[in-house]
Amino acid sequence: MDMRQVNKERDVTQGQASTPLVPPVDILEDAEGITLWADMPGVAKENLSVGVEGDTLTLDATVRLGETTRMQPVYAEVRVARFKRSFVLSRDLDTEKISADIRNGVLTVSVPKREQAKPRRIDVRLG
């Protein structure tokens, strides 16, 4: 790794600017499970990680814009090239069967319910 690379890395990890961006999400639940959408513009499939550790679902992604190398930034609202956000799942969700897909910068994550957790009618007996 050459020195310029080191400097660049340090710049990114210093101060507030290094805190990853929190992607905005929509989350809904229906009988099948939970669906989550996250806005992650500039993220390609190969720069995205969707992982589960214990009961925590973590989305972690790197933004690549493919800028011209000699470009000088003059104005930026997106100043960090990373998205990260975590969610705590519950036991009724099947973490083995999570699926994720990213298209046009929108990540869709589906977390199905365990079979036994799907809604069923419970008969109430009169005692």
């Binding site: 660049k8 507030q16 809904l28 993220v43 814009l65 000699r70 930034p73 104005y75 997106v78």
Partner: protein, 151 residues
């Protein structure tokens, strides 16, 4: 020089100098004069702007928007990005619970002023991974060129 828009030191913005003349400063600390077209924090879409010797590059972060339905226009030195973003959510009902609804939906429009030396006649736009990249070349006369020293 920083090769990436999103990878540069945070203090860059304290060192504007001549850049401000080239692209209008849209973001300023509270109390400072800011651009009349500055958008409040969290406006959709977020925009980054960079310049090279040849062109002005504008990156608009428009995830989940059909590029065919984004209108990019240049008029009198103003670049306008407009469109509409449909929502993915189903309405809440007996069988559907909504826990978060943070993503932008609806019509959007952002306007930025281009530097005077931009050539408004040949604007190019491309869409990749939810980012709209608009390249506005500079007029040939204003590009830096090497001056030969005679002697």
């Amino acid at each position: 020089m920083y090769p990436s828009l999103t990878r540069f030191p945070a203090d860059l913005f304290t060192d504007f100098e001549g850049l401000q003349r080239q692209v209008e400063q849209l973001l300023a600390p509270p109390g400072w004069p800011s651009s009349i077209r500055a958008a409040s924090r969290g406006a959709f879409p977020a925009i980054n702007v960079g310049i090279t010797d040849e062109a002005v590059e504008v990156y608009a972060f428009v995830p989940g928007v059909d590029p065919a339905r984004v209108e990019v226009s240049v008029d009198k030195g103003l670049l306008t990005i407009a469109g509409e973003r449909p929502g993915d959510m189903r309405p809440e009902s007996e069988k559907v619970s909504v826990y978060a609804q943070e993503r932008f939906t609806g019509a959007f429009r952002r306007v930025i002023s281009l530097p005077e030396d931009a050539d408004h006649t040949s604007v190019e736009a491309s869409y990749r991974n939810g980012v709209l990249k608009i390249v506005v070349p500079k007029r040939a006369a204003s590009r830096p060129r090497r001056v030969e020293i005679q002697g």
